[in-house]
Symmetry: C2
Subunit: 251 residues, 2 copies
């Protein structure tokens, strides 16, 4: 635990307890040393966006957050973008506007994945553009594509019996492999919120898993923005608290 001398409380960004920290090998993909640097926030220099670190094998999402007007001005595909992604974008952009709106994205995702509600699409667009404009360009599309591909692979890895859903402990491992270690009560809340059966199954299906990943990723990033000293604590004014939280409410 020499990486976390300033975090005696054991909190921080979902940092798992010591016993779990060293049992990260079975999660596959990332070697333990990488797991630690992605799970623990303190070790990452502030200039490097943490959001790109946890995505296992996926390419970094090109920092779509850096420009708040990214969805207003046309973006371009990052160098070396998979031609499949480019052709997906072109197919999804049905009106040829150079942007993909919420309905177009929903349609594109619903063919790629099983189902995708409009509210999930809105949360996705908000998190990858940091605006409520509900349009994304090539760059943001590439980041969305990459994250979803990664989340899908992780879901499939943990859905060992191919039941189409993962239970609470599998969810914990799945989130952990994404760099988010949530502690027991938070995990319970996530399962109760994202379980379609209202808590009967105590399990999450694929589309709700994506919503859950989006929520955990988004809330964690918003929290980090306020935790400027990387202390594991963040201070909000009332207005900033409301502005941070409300976009995650799905009405």
């Amino acid at each position: 635990m020499s990486d976390y001398p300033h975090n005696p409380s054991g909190y921080g960004y979902g940092q798992p307890p010591p016993s779990q920290m060293y049992s990260s090998a079975p999660y596959g993909g990332a070697p333990p040393s990488q797991m630690q640097s992605s799970a623990a926030y303190g070790g990452v220099p502030p200039s490097q966006p943490q959001s790109s670190a946890p995505y296992g094998g996926a390419p970094p999402p090109s920092q779509p957050y850096s420009n708040p007007f990214a969805s207003l001005t046309p973006s371009v595909f990052p160098p070396g973008t998979d031609p499949n992604v480019i052709s997906c974008f072109q197919m999804a952009d049905q009106d040829g506007s150079g942007f993909i709106d919420d309905k177009e994205l929903q349609k594109a995702l619903s063919s790629y994945n099983q189902s995708f509600g409009l509210r999930s699409v809105h949360l996705l667009m908000y998190l990858f553009t940091n605006t409520n404009i509900r349009k994304i360009g090539p760059k943001e599309f590439t980041a969305v594509f990459s994250s979803l591909q990664n989340w899908r692979a992780i879901f499939e890895r943990f859905d060992k019996d191919r039941s189409g859903k993962i239970d609470s402990s599998e969810l914990r491992e799945a989130l952990h492999s994404l760099g988010y270690a949530v502690y027991g009560p938070v995990l319970e809340l996530l399962v109760s919120k994202f379980d379609k059966t209202g808590g009967m199954n105590k399990a999450i299906e694929y589309d709700n898993f994506i919503e859950c990943c989006l929520t955990v990723k988004g809330l964690t990033e918003k929290f980090k923005e306020k935790d400027t000293t990387y202390s594991g604590s963040a201070t909000f004014t009332y207005d900033s608290f409301m502005l941070t939280v409300l976009p995650f409410l799905i009405a």
Copy 2:
């Protein structure tokens, strides 16, 4: 503005700007001096729960938050409870258990009001019991009844043309008369989140207004719990942030 010497930033619990502070008379009900003490947080002594202050003419909701096990042990009706409330409770408690569960509450509310989704019922129960147990006793039922009665009256007061919906500026006034003054960007977010048409109408119907009131009331109270020095700022650890926010997500 002599009440707020320690709040130069103009933040605090949705405290309106000075020009608005003194235009509170038209909101009816509360005289300006009362409006100020309910809208501004700093002036309320810590021992008095702010939650009971803003409800205009409604009786204080008997502090249902004080006992975290309120929904485990049978509660009793507060002295002087309106007999109508008692008979409503008895009708709603269809299995005679002494508690009302989520389905029973939904049924009771859907006859009293137009419609009431199960997710709103769950948020309501969470906020009035501070647990996820989804059962309420007589005391909590009385508080729910009183709040809903008050919110309904306020909605009707601001829905001047009886269209069944209120627009953005009416929502701001309605929330203000409940003691919550939200600033422009937060108001915009609330309307975009709780407008059933996904932002087309820029207006909120009655059932979404209730959800909106529940959300603003609940988030404000959670924020206050962390703002122990009444400074207008609150500090959260990552875990406490997640535990605070997740219950408000409606999956």
